[in-house]
Protein backbone atom coordinates (compact mmCIF):
# COMPACT_ATOMS: atom_id res chain seq x y z
CA UNK A 1 0.00 0.00 0.00
CA UNK A 2 1.77 3.12 -1.20
CA UNK A 3 0.95 6.54 0.11
CA UNK A 4 -0.05 7.92 -3.28
CA UNK A 5 -2.29 4.95 -3.95
CA UNK A 6 -3.92 5.32 -0.55
CA UNK A 7 -4.53 9.02 -1.09
CA UNK A 8 -6.00 8.40 -4.52
CA UNK A 9 -8.23 5.66 -3.19
CA UNK A 10 -9.36 7.79 -0.25
CA UNK A 11 -10.08 10.69 -2.63
CA UNK A 12 -12.16 8.42 -4.83
CA UNK A 13 -14.16 7.18 -1.87
CA UNK A 14 -14.65 10.71 -0.52
CA UNK A 15 -15.77 11.90 -3.93
CA UNK A 16 -18.14 8.96 -4.18
CA UNK A 17 -19.55 9.77 -0.74
CA UNK A 18 -20.17 13.39 -1.71
CA UNK A 19 -21.85 12.33 -4.96
CA UNK A 20 -23.86 9.85 -2.95
CA UNK A 21 -25.24 12.37 -0.46
CA UNK A 22 -25.69 15.21 -2.95
CA UNK A 23 -26.89 13.49 -6.09
CA UNK A 24 -27.57 9.80 -5.76
CA UNK A 25 -29.97 10.20 -2.85
CA UNK A 26 -32.25 12.17 -5.16
CA UNK A 27 -32.45 9.40 -7.73
CA UNK A 28 -34.99 6.90 -6.57
CA UNK A 29 -36.87 3.90 -7.85
CA UNK A 30 -39.10 2.32 -5.26
CA UNK A 31 -37.13 3.11 -2.13
CA UNK A 32 -33.72 2.36 -3.64
CA UNK A 33 -30.97 4.72 -4.68
CA UNK A 34 -27.83 4.05 -6.72
CA UNK A 35 -25.08 3.24 -4.23
CA UNK A 36 -22.08 5.03 -5.68
CA UNK A 37 -19.98 4.46 -2.57
CA UNK A 38 -20.61 0.73 -2.51
CA UNK A 39 -19.79 0.24 -6.19
CA UNK A 40 -16.68 2.41 -5.88
CA UNK A 41 -15.59 0.42 -2.86
CA UNK A 42 -16.14 -2.84 -4.71
CA UNK A 43 -14.12 -1.58 -7.65
CA UNK A 44 -11.21 -0.39 -5.49
CA UNK A 45 -11.28 -3.59 -3.45
CA UNK A 46 -11.09 -5.66 -6.60
CA UNK A 47 -8.19 -3.53 -7.81
CA UNK A 48 -6.25 -3.27 -4.57
CA UNK A 49 -7.23 -6.17 -2.35
CA UNK A 50 -8.86 -6.78 1.04
CA UNK A 51 -6.74 -4.45 3.16
CA UNK A 52 -7.62 -1.47 1.01
CA UNK A 53 -11.22 -2.69 0.92
CA UNK A 54 -11.53 -2.95 4.69
CA UNK A 55 -9.88 0.40 5.46
CA UNK A 56 -11.71 2.33 2.73
CA UNK A 57 -14.97 0.68 3.65
CA UNK A 58 -14.52 1.81 7.22
CA UNK A 59 -13.69 5.37 6.18
CA UNK A 60 -16.54 5.53 3.64
CA UNK A 61 -18.94 4.31 6.31
CA UNK A 62 -17.79 6.98 8.72
CA UNK A 63 -18.27 9.67 6.08
CA UNK A 64 -21.76 8.42 5.20
CA UNK A 65 -22.80 8.08 8.83
CA UNK A 66 -21.54 11.56 9.50
CA UNK A 67 -23.18 13.15 6.48
CA UNK A 68 -26.50 11.48 7.09
CA UNK A 69 -26.50 11.85 10.90
CA UNK A 70 -26.85 8.07 11.03
CA UNK A 71 -25.79 5.71 13.77
CA UNK A 72 -22.05 6.13 14.00
CA UNK A 73 -20.25 2.94 13.05
CA UNK A 74 -23.18 1.11 11.50
CA UNK A 75 -22.34 1.72 7.87
CA UNK A 76 -18.65 1.43 8.71
CA UNK A 77 -19.20 -2.06 10.01
CA UNK A 78 -21.04 -3.15 6.89
CA UNK A 79 -18.69 -1.55 4.42
CA UNK A 80 -15.61 -2.84 6.25
CA UNK A 81 -16.85 -6.39 5.91
CA UNK A 82 -17.91 -5.88 2.30
CA UNK A 83 -14.64 -4.19 1.35
CA UNK A 84 -12.61 -6.97 2.91
CA UNK A 85 -14.72 -9.71 1.38
CA UNK A 86 -14.63 -8.11 -2.07
CA UNK A 87 -10.87 -7.83 -1.90
CA UNK A 88 -10.59 -11.49 -1.04
CA UNK A 89 -13.08 -12.34 -3.77
CA UNK A 90 -11.01 -10.39 -6.27
CA UNK A 91 -7.82 -12.16 -5.27
CA UNK A 92 -9.47 -15.53 -5.58
CA UNK A 93 -11.51 -15.18 -8.75
CA UNK A 94 -10.28 -12.32 -10.87
CA UNK A 95 -8.37 -14.48 -13.23
CA UNK A 96 -10.85 -17.31 -13.48
CA UNK A 97 -14.23 -15.62 -13.55
CA UNK A 98 -15.78 -14.13 -16.66
CA UNK A 99 -17.42 -11.19 -14.92
CA UNK A 100 -15.97 -10.83 -11.44
CA UNK A 101 -17.06 -7.21 -11.21
CA UNK A 102 -20.73 -7.94 -11.84
CA UNK A 103 -20.71 -10.91 -9.48
CA UNK A 104 -18.99 -8.85 -6.82
CA UNK A 105 -21.44 -5.98 -7.22
CA UNK A 106 -24.44 -8.32 -7.02
CA UNK A 107 -23.15 -10.09 -3.94
CA UNK A 108 -21.99 -6.88 -2.27
CA UNK A 109 -25.30 -5.11 -2.93
CA UNK A 110 -27.31 -8.02 -1.63
CA UNK A 111 -25.02 -8.40 1.38
CA UNK A 112 -25.16 -4.70 2.17
CA UNK A 113 -28.95 -4.54 1.91
CA UNK A 114 -29.54 -7.67 3.95
CA UNK A 115 -26.84 -6.80 6.48
CA UNK A 116 -28.28 -3.34 6.87
CA UNK A 117 -31.73 -4.84 7.38
CA UNK A 118 -30.43 -7.24 10.01
CA UNK A 119 -28.53 -4.54 11.90
CA UNK A 120 -31.48 -2.18 11.83
CA UNK A 121 -33.76 -4.99 12.96
CA UNK A 122 -31.42 -5.56 15.90
CA UNK A 123 -31.69 -1.87 16.67
CA UNK A 124 -35.48 -2.04 16.63
CA UNK A 125 -36.14 -0.73 13.12
CA UNK A 126 -37.61 -3.08 10.56
CA UNK A 127 -39.46 -3.07 7.25
CA UNK A 128 -41.52 -5.87 5.69
CA UNK A 129 -39.48 -8.48 3.84
CA UNK A 130 -41.47 -8.00 0.64
CA UNK A 131 -40.73 -4.30 0.69
CA UNK A 132 -37.07 -5.00 1.38
CA UNK A 133 -36.76 -7.26 -1.64
CA UNK A 134 -39.04 -5.52 -4.11
CA UNK A 135 -38.57 -1.87 -3.27
CA UNK A 136 -35.01 -1.81 -1.98
CA UNK A 137 -32.92 -4.77 -3.06
CA UNK A 138 -33.99 -5.31 -6.67
CA UNK A 139 -34.05 -1.70 -7.86
CA UNK A 140 -30.83 -1.00 -5.92
CA UNK A 141 -29.22 -3.97 -7.59
CA UNK A 142 -30.23 -2.68 -11.01
CA UNK A 143 -28.83 0.76 -10.23
CA UNK A 144 -25.54 -0.67 -8.98
CA UNK A 145 -25.12 -2.97 -11.97
CA UNK A 146 -25.59 0.00 -14.26
CA UNK A 147 -22.92 1.88 -12.35
CA UNK A 148 -20.50 -1.05 -12.11
CA UNK A 149 -18.50 -0.81 -15.33
CA UNK A 150 -18.32 3.00 -15.58
CA UNK A 151 -17.13 3.32 -11.98
CA UNK A 152 -14.72 0.42 -12.32
CA UNK A 153 -13.21 2.03 -15.43
CA UNK A 154 -12.79 5.30 -13.54
CA UNK A 155 -11.21 3.57 -10.57
CA UNK A 156 -8.95 1.50 -12.80
CA UNK A 157 -7.79 4.66 -14.53
CA UNK A 158 -6.94 6.31 -11.21
CA UNK A 159 -5.60 3.12 -9.62
CA UNK A 160 -4.18 1.01 -12.44
CA UNK A 161 -4.27 -2.72 -11.76
CA UNK A 162 -1.04 -4.06 -10.38
CA UNK A 163 0.94 -6.54 -12.32
CA UNK A 164 0.87 -9.87 -10.61
CA UNK A 165 4.37 -11.07 -9.88
CA UNK A 166 4.45 -14.77 -10.12
CA UNK A 167 7.15 -16.58 -8.33
CA UNK A 168 8.66 -19.48 -10.08
CA UNK A 169 9.51 -22.33 -7.80
CA UNK A 170 12.18 -24.49 -9.14
CA UNK A 171 12.42 -28.04 -7.99
CA UNK A 172 15.26 -28.53 -5.61
CA UNK A 173 16.39 -31.64 -7.34
Amino acid sequence: MTGIDALKAAGLVLLAAIVQVSLAEWIEIGEAHPDVVLVTLVAISLLRGPTYGAILGFLAGLVLDTASFGTFGLTSLLLTVIGYWTGRFGEATTRSSAHPLLIAVILASAGYTLGSAVLHFMLGLSIPASQLFLAVLLPGLAFNLLLAYPLYSLCARVLPPRLVVRREVKPAV
Binding site: S22, L23, F58, V63, T71, S76, T80
Partner: protein, 321 residues
Protein backbone atom coordinates in the same frame (compact mmCIF):
# COMPACT_ATOMS: atom_id res chain seq x y z
CA UNK B 1 18.99 -31.17 0.32
CA UNK B 2 15.26 -31.75 0.68
CA UNK B 3 15.41 -30.85 4.32
CA UNK B 4 17.22 -27.61 3.67
CA UNK B 5 15.21 -24.49 4.37
CA UNK B 6 14.18 -22.53 1.32
CA UNK B 7 15.59 -19.06 1.24
CA UNK B 8 13.31 -16.37 0.08
CA UNK B 9 14.63 -13.12 -1.14
CA UNK B 10 13.51 -9.70 0.11
CA UNK B 11 10.42 -8.61 -1.77
CA UNK B 12 6.75 -8.08 -1.24
CA UNK B 13 5.29 -9.90 1.73
CA UNK B 14 4.15 -13.43 1.06
CA UNK B 15 0.54 -14.16 0.07
CA UNK B 16 -0.26 -15.71 3.44
CA UNK B 17 1.30 -12.76 5.22
CA UNK B 18 -0.77 -10.29 3.27
CA UNK B 19 -3.88 -12.31 3.86
CA UNK B 20 -3.18 -12.42 7.58
CA UNK B 21 -2.57 -8.70 7.68
CA UNK B 22 -5.78 -8.00 5.76
CA UNK B 23 -7.71 -10.26 8.10
CA UNK B 24 -6.20 -8.52 11.09
CA UNK B 25 -7.05 -5.06 9.73
CA UNK B 26 -10.60 -6.08 8.90
CA UNK B 27 -11.16 -7.66 12.31
CA UNK B 28 -9.75 -4.58 14.01
CA UNK B 29 -11.98 -2.25 12.01
CA UNK B 30 -15.03 -4.41 12.68
CA UNK B 31 -14.27 -4.21 16.39
CA UNK B 32 -13.84 -0.45 16.15
CA UNK B 33 -17.15 -0.18 14.31
CA UNK B 34 -18.90 -2.21 16.97
CA UNK B 35 -17.32 -0.07 19.65
CA UNK B 36 -18.48 3.07 17.83
CA UNK B 37 -22.04 1.77 17.60
CA UNK B 38 -22.06 0.85 21.26
CA UNK B 39 -20.59 4.14 22.46
CA UNK B 40 -22.86 6.10 20.13
CA UNK B 41 -25.92 4.47 21.61
CA UNK B 42 -24.80 4.70 25.20
CA UNK B 43 -23.63 8.29 25.23
CA UNK B 44 -25.89 11.31 25.47
CA UNK B 45 -26.47 13.77 22.68
CA UNK B 46 -23.63 15.87 24.04
CA UNK B 47 -21.19 12.95 23.97
CA UNK B 48 -17.92 13.01 22.02
CA UNK B 49 -19.16 10.91 19.10
CA UNK B 50 -22.23 13.06 18.60
CA UNK B 51 -20.03 16.13 18.83
CA UNK B 52 -17.62 14.63 16.30
CA UNK B 53 -20.51 13.83 14.04
CA UNK B 54 -21.73 17.40 14.22
CA UNK B 55 -18.24 18.67 13.41
CA UNK B 56 -18.05 16.18 10.54
CA UNK B 57 -21.35 17.42 9.19
CA UNK B 58 -20.06 20.97 9.32
CA UNK B 59 -16.91 19.96 7.49
CA UNK B 60 -18.80 18.02 4.86
CA UNK B 61 -21.45 20.69 4.42
CA UNK B 62 -19.53 22.80 1.86
CA UNK B 63 -18.83 19.70 -0.19
CA UNK B 64 -22.44 18.71 -0.02
CA UNK B 65 -23.58 22.19 -1.00
CA UNK B 66 -21.14 22.30 -3.89
CA UNK B 67 -22.12 18.81 -4.97
CA UNK B 68 -25.77 19.70 -4.69
CA UNK B 69 -25.27 22.76 -6.92
CA UNK B 70 -23.43 20.75 -9.50
CA UNK B 71 -25.95 17.98 -9.31
CA UNK B 72 -29.04 20.16 -9.35
CA UNK B 73 -29.44 20.31 -13.16
CA UNK B 74 -29.02 16.55 -13.40
CA UNK B 75 -31.34 16.05 -10.50
CA UNK B 76 -33.94 18.32 -12.05
CA UNK B 77 -33.60 16.49 -15.35
CA UNK B 78 -34.04 13.17 -13.59
CA UNK B 79 -36.98 14.45 -11.61
CA UNK B 80 -38.61 15.90 -14.71
CA UNK B 81 -38.13 12.65 -16.62
CA UNK B 82 -39.36 10.44 -13.82
CA UNK B 83 -42.29 12.75 -13.18
CA UNK B 84 -43.18 12.62 -16.85
CA UNK B 85 -42.96 8.85 -16.90
CA UNK B 86 -44.91 8.52 -13.70
CA UNK B 87 -47.49 11.19 -14.45
CA UNK B 88 -49.87 8.95 -16.35
CA UNK B 89 -49.78 6.20 -13.75
CA UNK B 90 -50.11 8.75 -10.98
CA UNK B 91 -53.00 10.37 -12.78
CA UNK B 92 -54.80 7.05 -13.08
CA UNK B 93 -54.11 6.25 -9.44
CA UNK B 94 -55.34 9.64 -8.30
CA UNK B 95 -58.47 9.34 -10.41
CA UNK B 96 -59.21 5.97 -8.90
CA UNK B 97 -58.47 7.27 -5.43
CA UNK B 98 -60.71 10.24 -6.10
CA UNK B 99 -63.53 7.96 -7.16
CA UNK B 100 -63.10 5.81 -4.07
CA UNK B 101 -63.04 8.83 -1.79
CA UNK B 102 -66.10 10.30 -3.48
CA UNK B 103 -67.95 7.02 -3.04
CA UNK B 104 -66.92 6.90 0.61
CA UNK B 105 -68.02 10.50 1.10
CA UNK B 106 -71.39 9.84 -0.47
CA UNK B 107 -71.83 6.74 1.64
CA UNK B 108 -70.87 8.61 4.80
CA UNK B 109 -73.20 11.50 4.04
CA UNK B 110 -76.03 9.15 3.17
CA UNK B 111 -75.47 7.27 6.40
CA UNK B 112 -75.43 10.52 8.34
CA UNK B 113 -78.64 11.67 6.70
CA UNK B 114 -80.30 8.33 7.32
CA UNK B 115 -79.18 8.43 10.91
CA UNK B 116 -80.57 11.93 11.36
CA UNK B 117 -83.89 10.91 9.80
CA UNK B 118 -84.07 7.79 11.94
CA UNK B 119 -83.24 9.79 15.03
CA UNK B 120 -86.04 12.27 14.29
CA UNK B 121 -88.37 9.42 13.50
CA UNK B 122 -87.50 7.65 16.72
CA UNK B 123 -88.08 10.84 18.71
CA UNK B 124 -91.45 11.30 17.06
CA UNK B 125 -92.65 7.72 17.41
CA UNK B 126 -91.64 7.46 21.05
CA UNK B 127 -92.76 11.00 21.89
CA UNK B 128 -96.11 12.28 23.14
CA UNK B 129 -97.17 13.62 19.74
CA UNK B 130 -97.48 10.19 18.21
CA UNK B 131 -101.13 9.05 18.16
CA UNK B 132 -101.57 6.37 20.75
CA UNK B 133 -103.95 4.12 18.84
CA UNK B 134 -101.73 3.85 15.77
CA UNK B 135 -98.73 1.76 14.85
CA UNK B 136 -95.94 3.17 12.70
CA UNK B 137 -94.69 1.53 9.53
CA UNK B 138 -91.57 3.12 8.14
CA UNK B 139 -91.30 3.18 4.36
CA UNK B 140 -88.68 4.54 2.02
CA UNK B 141 -89.74 6.65 -0.93
CA UNK B 142 -88.73 4.88 -4.10
CA UNK B 143 -90.65 6.82 -6.70
CA UNK B 144 -91.47 10.45 -7.27
CA UNK B 145 -94.12 12.00 -9.47
CA UNK B 146 -93.08 12.12 -13.12
CA UNK B 147 -94.85 15.45 -13.65
CA UNK B 148 -95.52 18.43 -11.40
CA UNK B 149 -99.22 17.80 -11.77
CA UNK B 150 -99.15 14.59 -9.83
CA UNK B 151 -98.34 15.10 -6.19
CA UNK B 152 -97.79 11.45 -5.42
CA UNK B 153 -94.93 9.27 -4.30
CA UNK B 154 -94.37 5.54 -4.23
CA UNK B 155 -92.99 3.88 -1.12
CA UNK B 156 -91.26 0.56 -0.59
CA UNK B 157 -93.88 -1.01 1.64
CA UNK B 158 -97.25 -2.40 0.79
CA UNK B 159 -100.08 -4.54 1.96
CA UNK B 160 -97.68 -7.33 2.86
CA UNK B 161 -96.16 -4.98 5.41
CA UNK B 162 -99.51 -4.15 6.93
CA UNK B 163 -100.24 -0.94 5.09
CA UNK B 164 -103.87 -0.23 4.39
CA UNK B 165 -105.62 1.98 1.89
CA UNK B 166 -106.38 5.53 3.12
CA UNK B 167 -103.90 5.22 5.97
CA UNK B 168 -102.47 8.59 6.94
CA UNK B 169 -98.81 9.23 6.21
CA UNK B 170 -96.53 11.56 8.11
CA UNK B 171 -92.95 12.73 7.75
CA UNK B 172 -90.20 11.55 10.16
CA UNK B 173 -90.89 14.70 12.17
CA UNK B 174 -94.55 13.83 12.44
CA UNK B 175 -95.91 16.41 9.99
CA UNK B 176 -98.73 15.38 7.71
CA UNK B 177 -97.62 14.20 4.28
CA UNK B 178 -100.68 12.58 2.73
CA UNK B 179 -102.55 9.32 2.64
CA UNK B 180 -102.24 5.91 1.00
CA UNK B 181 -104.33 5.83 -2.14
CA UNK B 182 -103.18 2.69 -3.88
CA UNK B 183 -101.65 -0.56 -2.71
CA UNK B 184 -99.63 -3.48 -3.97
CA UNK B 185 -97.96 -6.26 -2.04
CA UNK B 186 -94.68 -4.46 -1.56
CA UNK B 187 -95.35 -0.92 -2.67
CA UNK B 188 -97.91 1.73 -2.01
CA UNK B 189 -98.82 5.01 -3.65
CA UNK B 190 -99.19 8.00 -1.41
CA UNK B 191 -101.11 11.04 -2.50
CA UNK B 192 -99.60 14.12 -0.93
CA UNK B 193 -101.75 16.75 0.71
CA UNK B 194 -100.56 19.16 -2.00
CA UNK B 195 -102.30 17.08 -4.66
CA UNK B 196 -105.35 18.61 -6.32
CA UNK B 197 -107.54 15.70 -5.26
CA UNK B 198 -106.59 15.87 -1.63
CA UNK B 199 -108.45 17.59 1.17
CA UNK B 200 -108.04 17.29 4.90
CA UNK B 201 -110.27 18.69 7.60
CA UNK B 202 -108.18 20.85 9.85
CA UNK B 203 -108.30 23.37 12.64
CA UNK B 204 -106.17 26.29 13.65
CA UNK B 205 -104.60 25.18 16.89
CA UNK B 206 -104.66 28.58 18.59
CA UNK B 207 -108.20 29.69 17.65
CA UNK B 208 -110.01 26.44 16.84
CA UNK B 209 -111.05 27.91 13.49
CA UNK B 210 -111.90 24.91 11.34
CA UNK B 211 -111.84 24.33 7.62
CA UNK B 212 -110.57 22.04 4.87
CA UNK B 213 -106.94 22.06 3.75
CA UNK B 214 -106.59 21.88 -0.04
CA UNK B 215 -103.86 22.41 -2.58
CA UNK B 216 -102.79 25.98 -3.16
CA UNK B 217 -101.77 27.97 -6.20
CA UNK B 218 -98.36 26.32 -6.42
CA UNK B 219 -97.51 22.64 -5.91
CA UNK B 220 -95.88 23.36 -2.59
CA UNK B 221 -98.56 25.61 -1.07
CA UNK B 222 -101.79 24.88 0.75
CA UNK B 223 -104.90 26.80 1.66
CA UNK B 224 -107.32 26.35 4.52
CA UNK B 225 -110.70 26.79 2.89
CA UNK B 226 -114.25 26.91 4.17
CA UNK B 227 -113.37 28.80 7.32
CA UNK B 228 -116.27 30.77 8.66
CA UNK B 229 -115.82 34.50 8.42
CA UNK B 230 -116.34 35.00 12.12
CA UNK B 231 -113.53 32.63 13.01
CA UNK B 232 -110.12 34.08 13.71
CA UNK B 233 -106.65 33.12 12.51
CA UNK B 234 -103.46 35.06 12.18
CA UNK B 235 -100.05 34.55 10.59
CA UNK B 236 -97.87 32.12 12.46
CA UNK B 237 -100.73 30.04 13.82
CA UNK B 238 -100.37 26.28 13.51
CA UNK B 239 -102.84 24.24 11.50
CA UNK B 240 -103.42 20.64 12.60
CA UNK B 241 -105.67 17.82 11.55
CA UNK B 242 -109.14 18.07 13.03
CA UNK B 243 -109.67 14.34 13.58
CA UNK B 244 -113.41 14.54 13.93
CA UNK B 245 -115.58 11.61 14.92
CA UNK B 246 -119.30 11.09 14.71
CA UNK B 247 -121.46 8.17 15.52
CA UNK B 248 -121.22 6.81 11.98
CA UNK B 249 -118.14 8.37 10.50
CA UNK B 250 -114.63 9.04 11.56
CA UNK B 251 -111.92 11.18 10.01
CA UNK B 252 -109.13 9.31 8.26
CA UNK B 253 -106.58 11.40 10.10
CA UNK B 254 -106.19 11.34 13.86
CA UNK B 255 -106.41 14.70 15.56
CA UNK B 256 -103.32 16.74 16.20
CA UNK B 257 -101.04 15.99 13.26
CA UNK B 258 -99.36 19.28 12.28
CA UNK B 259 -100.04 20.36 8.70
CA UNK B 260 -98.56 23.83 8.37
CA UNK B 261 -98.41 27.38 9.63
CA UNK B 262 -100.63 30.24 8.61
CA UNK B 263 -98.94 32.55 6.10
CA UNK B 264 -101.72 35.04 5.50
CA UNK B 265 -105.46 35.40 5.92
CA UNK B 266 -107.63 36.63 3.06
CA UNK B 267 -111.27 37.65 3.20
CA UNK B 268 -113.48 39.36 0.62
CA UNK B 269 -116.98 40.65 1.16
CA UNK B 270 -118.40 38.56 -1.66
CA UNK B 271 -116.85 35.34 -0.41
CA UNK B 272 -118.70 33.08 1.93
CA UNK B 273 -115.57 31.82 3.64
CA UNK B 274 -112.11 32.97 4.59
CA UNK B 275 -109.17 31.66 2.61
CA UNK B 276 -106.06 31.13 4.68
CA UNK B 277 -102.70 30.57 3.02
CA UNK B 278 -100.70 27.83 4.71
CA UNK B 279 -97.01 26.94 4.45
CA UNK B 280 -96.74 23.15 4.83
CA UNK B 281 -94.46 21.94 7.60
CA UNK B 282 -93.35 18.84 5.72
CA UNK B 283 -90.56 19.44 3.19
CA UNK B 284 -91.90 17.36 0.33
CA UNK B 285 -88.84 17.83 -1.86
CA UNK B 286 -86.48 16.51 0.80
CA UNK B 287 -88.58 13.56 1.88
CA UNK B 288 -86.83 10.21 1.63
CA UNK B 289 -88.65 8.28 4.33
CA UNK B 290 -92.20 8.44 5.63
CA UNK B 291 -94.17 6.87 8.42
CA UNK B 292 -97.47 5.24 7.56
CA UNK B 293 -99.89 5.24 10.49
CA UNK B 294 -101.82 2.03 10.85
CA UNK B 295 -104.64 1.94 13.31
CA UNK B 296 -104.23 -0.66 16.01
CA UNK B 297 -106.88 -3.39 16.04
CA UNK B 298 -109.86 -2.28 18.11
CA UNK B 299 -111.04 -4.48 20.95
CA UNK B 300 -114.08 -6.48 20.00
CA UNK B 301 -117.33 -4.59 20.55
CA UNK B 302 -120.76 -6.02 21.17
CA UNK B 303 -122.70 -6.79 18.00
CA UNK B 304 -124.66 -3.87 16.60
CA UNK B 305 -127.65 -3.80 14.36
CA UNK B 306 -126.84 -4.43 10.71
CA UNK B 307 -127.85 -0.92 9.75
CA UNK B 308 -125.10 0.51 12.01
CA UNK B 309 -121.90 -0.57 10.41
CA UNK B 310 -118.89 -0.20 12.67
CA UNK B 311 -116.58 2.78 12.11
CA UNK B 312 -117.04 3.33 8.44
CA UNK B 313 -114.50 5.49 6.81
CA UNK B 314 -114.84 7.83 3.98
CA UNK B 315 -112.61 10.27 2.30
CA UNK B 316 -112.27 13.62 3.94
CA UNK B 317 -113.55 15.57 1.01
CA UNK B 318 -116.92 14.07 1.42
CA UNK B 319 -119.55 15.83 3.49
CA UNK B 320 -118.47 16.89 6.90
CA UNK B 321 -120.96 16.72 9.72
Amino acid sequence: MLDAPVRRGDGPPSRSGRAFRARLVAALLVLVSLALITVYFRESDDGPLHAAQRIGVSVLMPFEVAGERVARPFRDAWGWTSDLLGAKDENDELRQENEELRAELIEARTTAQEYAVESRMSDYVSGPRFPTDFDPIVARIIGRPPTPYQQEVVVSAGSADGIKRNAPVVSPDGNLVGQVTDLADSTARITLITDQSSSVSAVVLETEASGVVKHGASPSSLILDRVEKDEMASAGNTVITAGWTTERFESLFPRGIPIGTVDSVGQQDVDLFKRIQIAPLADFDALSTVIVLIEKPQPEEPARPATESPRRRERENENRP
